[in-house]
Amino acid sequence: MWKEKYKIGVELIDGQHKELFRRVLDFIKTVQAEGPWESKLSEVKETMGFMKEYVIIHFSDEEVYQREIGYPDYGKHRQIHAKFKNEVQKYAERFQQEAYNEETVQEFGGKLMAWLINHVAGEDQKIGDYQNRGGSI
C-alpha cells in the first residue's frame, strides 16, 4: 500500500505515515481474508484501538511540526484532521453499539484507506513542499 511518492521528506512524519499504512494494510488483509468473521474479531478490535490512539498522536505530531516551520495552511490542515478524528470516533462508537458488525467494519476500512491515501498523497505533500522551498509560499 505504501508508495515512495507518499514521502514528504520529514523523517518523523514519513515514519509515522509508513506505520499507519502498514497497519491499515494489515487491517485490510484481515477483514478481506476468507473465513468466519468471529475469528477476525480480536484483530479488528486491536487495530481499532491502535487507530484511535495513533491517529491522534500522529495528527498532533504533524500539527506541532507545522507550527514549528510556520506552515501557512496550518489552520486548514488542523480542521481536516479534526474532521477525520471525529469520523474515526463515530465509527468507534458504532462498533461498540453494533458489536463490530462486519458490514460497518468493512465500510470503515474502505473509507480509512481512501482517505489516508488522498490526504498523504495530496494535503501532506504541501507541508514537505513548503519546507523544501525554505519556508516560503
Binding site: 500500500m1 494494510l25 468493512q106 465500510e107 474502505g110 473509507k111 484507506m113 481512501a114 482517505w115
Partner: protein
C-alpha cells in the same frame, strides 16, 4: 448546463485519479439523457446544494472498481463488498469536494451532501428529473460515466 460545471468535475476527476491511482483519463463524447439511471455495477451519487443544485452520479463497472481498490491497497480484490463500495464512495466524495473547490473559483458557492452508494444497474436516481449530461471517461483499467444534473439557484 454551463461548461464550467462540467469542467469543474472533469478537472477534479482527472486530478484525483492521477493523485490516488496514477491513472490518466480520456474524455469521451458528451451526451444528454432524460433520466438519471444507474448504468453500472457500482454507483455513487452526490447531492449538490448552494448556488447550484442537483445531483451527480458516478457509475463504475465491477472489474474497474475492484482494480481501483487493488491499485490503492496493493491487495487483490474479488468481490464488491462494503469495503470496496466504501472506498469508492470516499473517492467520489474527494472528487466532489475538489469539484466544489473548482466551482468556487468560478464564483459558484456550493456544498456537497455525503455520497450514497447504489449497487446494481437500472435503478432510477433523480427526482422530478431534469435532463442530465453524461460524461463518459476512458482509462487503461476500464471506462466509467459521470451523470451531471445541476441548475443554478441564483436569480
Amino acid at each position: 448546463m454551463k461548461s464550467q460545471y462540467i469542467n469543474s468535475f472533469y478537472k477534479a476527476v482527472m486530478d484525483v485519479f492521477k493523485l490516488m491511482l496514477d491513472i490518466k483519463l480520456e474524455k469521451g463524447e458528451l451526451r444528454v439523457v432524460n433520466d438519471m439511471v444507474t448504468g453500472n455495477d457500482a454507483n455513487v451519487t452526490i447531492g449538490i446544494t448552494g448556488d447550484l443544485s442537483g445531483s451527480v452520479l458516478f457509475g463504475f463497472p465491477k472489474d474497474m472498481n475492484l482494480e481501483m481498490v487493488r491499485i490503492m491497497s496493493g491487495v487483490e480484490m474479488k468481490k464488491l463488498d462494503s469495503f470496496i463500495s466504501s472506498a469508492l464512495g470516499e473517492m467520489v466524495n474527494i472528487i466532489s469536494g475538489n469539484a466544489v473547490t473548482n466551482l468556487s473559483r468560478e464564483n459558484y458557492k456550493c456544498d456537497i451532501v455525503p455520497p450514497q452508494i447504489i449497487m446494481g444497474q437500472n435503478k432510477s436516481i433523480s427526482m422530478a428529473t431534469d435532463k442530465a449530461l453524461v460524461l463518459p471517461m476512458e482509462t487503461e483499467i476500464g471506462g466509467f460515466e459521470i451523470n451531471i444534473s445541476l441548475k443554478e439557484t441564483r436569480i
